[in-house]
């Protein structure tokens, strides 16, 4: 999926979401779980119009704006390449982030190097801004490892498949930061489905009780595989935070500027020792949950069309063009860079080696284990028996 192909399907429907500010009165009106726009923090409308917000303003240079655009375009290109690779049998599965680029790039660009990220399994854009080699993300989907990178090298933890588990790891890590007297912070990602999990709620309890410097970033993409948000909650998710004793804020998840501003503010709050924040990025999963899934069985085409009109990349492109922040050469160069990225990802996946047989036993224990040693020796002898047979 390229920016252009999304653009071709762009509808002309004007969203009612361009409200300029959050007000107490409008907040009261929204009680449904999907509680639409009134409460969203938004800095860039779906039409690419810059709007102000009293609490979350942001001042970015043209270069920074182009940087965010570049991140989103390249992330979408990487994601599209991975989806293609799955369709061609090169990956066993892929969890696409299509539509969630702004939520991930905006929040990810709010981080400092010494902050730590706990992702789910869809944070390809966050990995990108953390400088993680995109190839590393593909190992588990190709079936050559279960993660396979050193989390400390980019302060980006391994993907976690069991929903919500990582929010507790994030909270514990943040408790450790506080013990160390450091001023870094933790950003924990999860989805609307995971918000129902006990672990997410326990992490809210622990982080509040210990005033841990953690920001919970929920990408509410409206669907947990086939279950709509109405099956997860009766109140807007960000409102849950108040019950745990810390602030929650809903941001337009398709607005990269608002995601950046709100996450930056929450991280600064954590650094000041003021504890956790829940950010609910109101966004949409344009694709399937994973490539194993068929969204046509459970959701309407019209819904997707509605969200395509709010495309995070298009709106920033419109803004960049209208303000003269980027010229045609910029977009052309980025297109070329994008194609090159796709090609390199494809080559890297195909070149990814299948691990040696004996790797089954590697890294199970740090200090060794008699049973593992025994079974490793048996397996080695079994493998060697084939080699002996071939020699005859």
């Amino acid at each position: 999926m390229t920016v252009e192909s999304t653009a071709a399907r762009k509808t002309t429907r004007r969203s009612s979401g361009a409200k300029r500010t959050t007000s107490a009165a409008s907040a009261k009106k929204a009680s449904a779980a999907q509680g639409t726009e009134p409460e969203l923090v938004q800095l860039l409308t779906p039409e690419g119009e810059r709007v102000q917000h009293p609490d979350y303003d942001i001042d970015l240079s043209a270069e920074e704006l182009r940087g965010l655009y570049r991140d989103m375009v390249l992330t979408r290109r990487f994601d599209a390449e991975a989806t293609s690779l799955q369709r061609q049998g090169e990956l066993g599965l892929w969890a696409s982030l299509l539509g969630q680029e702004a939520a991930q790039i905006g929040s990810g660009r709010a981080l400092r190097d010494d902050d730590y990220v706990f992702p789910t399994y869809r944070e390809h854009g966050v990995a990108w801004v953390r400088g993680v080699d995109p190839t590393n993300l593909l190992g588990m989907f190709r079936g050559v490892n279960h993660g396979g990178w050193d989390p400390s090298s980019n302060n980006f933890h391994l993907y976690t498949i069991v929903l919500g588990s990582q929010t507790l790891h994030a909270t514990g890590y943040a408790m450790g930061i506080a013990k160390d007297g450091a001023d870094s912070a933790v950003l924990a990602y999860f989805g609307d489905g995971a918000s129902s999990q006990g672990d997410v709620n326990e992490s809210f309890v622990f982080s509040a009780v210990y005033n841990a410097p953690v920001v919970f970033f929920c990408q509410n993409n409206q669907w947990a595989i086939s279950e709509p948000i109405e099956k997860q909650t009766r109140v807007p998710l960000y409102q849950r935070a108040s019950g745990f004793g810390f602030p929650g804020v809903r941001v337009d998840g398709n607005d990269v500027l608002a995601c950046l501003a709100v996450t930056r503010s929450a991280l600064e709050r954590a650094r000041r020792g003021e504890g956790p924040t829940l950010v609910e990025a109101f966004t949409y999963r344009m694709g399937a949950h994973t490539t194993s899934d068929d969204p046509t069985r459970y959701r309407r085409d019209a819904e997707r069309a509605e969200w395509e009109a709010k495309d995070p990349i298009l709106r920033l492109k419109t803004y960049l063009e209208n303000e003269g922040h980027a010229d045609a050469a910029f977009f052309e160069e980025l297109e070329a860079e994008s194609e090159a990225l796709g090609k390199s990802v494809r080559e890297a996946v195909r070149a990814m080696p299948v691990p040696e047989h004996m790797a089954i036993f590697d890294h199970t224990y740090a200090d060794g284990h008699a049973l593992v040693d025994e079974e490793r020796a048996q397996f080695a002898a079994y493998q060697a028996s084939f080699a002996a047979g071939e020699g005859e």
Binding site: P151, H369, L371
Partner: protein
Amino acid sequence: MAVQNLPLAKALNESLRKALETDPKVVIMGLDVGKLGGVFRITDGLQKDFGEDRVVDTPLAESGIVGTAIGLALRGYRPVVEIQFDGFVFPAYDQIVTQLAKMRARSLGTVKMPVVIRIPYGGGIGAVEHHSESPESLFAHVAGLKVVTPANSSDAYWMLQQAIQSDDPVIFFEPKRRYWDKGEVDTEAFPGELHKARVAREGTDLTLAAYGPMVKTCLEAAAVAAEEGKSVEVVDLRSISPLDFDTIQASVEKTRRLVVVHEAPVFFGSGAEIAARITERCFYHLEAPVLRVGGYHAPYPPARLEEEYLPGLDRVLDAVDRSLAY
């Protein structure tokens, strides 16, 4: 004074104190571990001496306790977590099995998980439901975890410190009905390997293999058997994963008979694993099939029936007789 006569519970307390003194990264976490000193007082006085930052009272949420311990370990800490009772570990079982056990392998060895989870386990104290179970096999089955259990004060003191020093996650089962039994602890003696079994009593006619609370029961059974002219060897396994089959094998090659005793249900229990492997290793040495004595395939019974459920002297001696009758 290096040698002290301490109850097992106090030996654990001294061990934790030593660990807190030795390594500033050691953090104790759990329900009631602070002012109360734990429901069994294992952490008694530690918060007073080391502060709330080292001995951390937690919210009442087991998954949260273990999950945040994992995060602390990722930050370089060595959390020692207390679960109040055996039957309460299950809300944390997901974190232990899907996260704690696999983190190292998933990171291709770049991440260490030096987390100890202390669980008072087993019956015999007249407790209510969920306070008397023996879930050790459920943990031993999971690759990435280590599972150990001391049977006396000396092992309580030394094994807990060794578990804390390990870079692997260790599930540390404490035989709660032996908490008040006294034993000698030499705080300066060089400890044996954490995962090596110990011959607790020498014998020539039959081997009893046991761990945790059943070691004492088996030693008592061996003493009674001796009065009947039977020489019974008792092996204290100490570690359930890894399991020291070499020591059991050496004993069985000498005695030619093996009875495994544990409180947990026999079905799919650690005794089944031991029976299978020892049968493989010692097939031509065995004079009788390996027998097992343990709990039944029924929920742990109400306290008034637990003496019927738990292996006692009579059931162990009955198994000894059955084995010798082959």
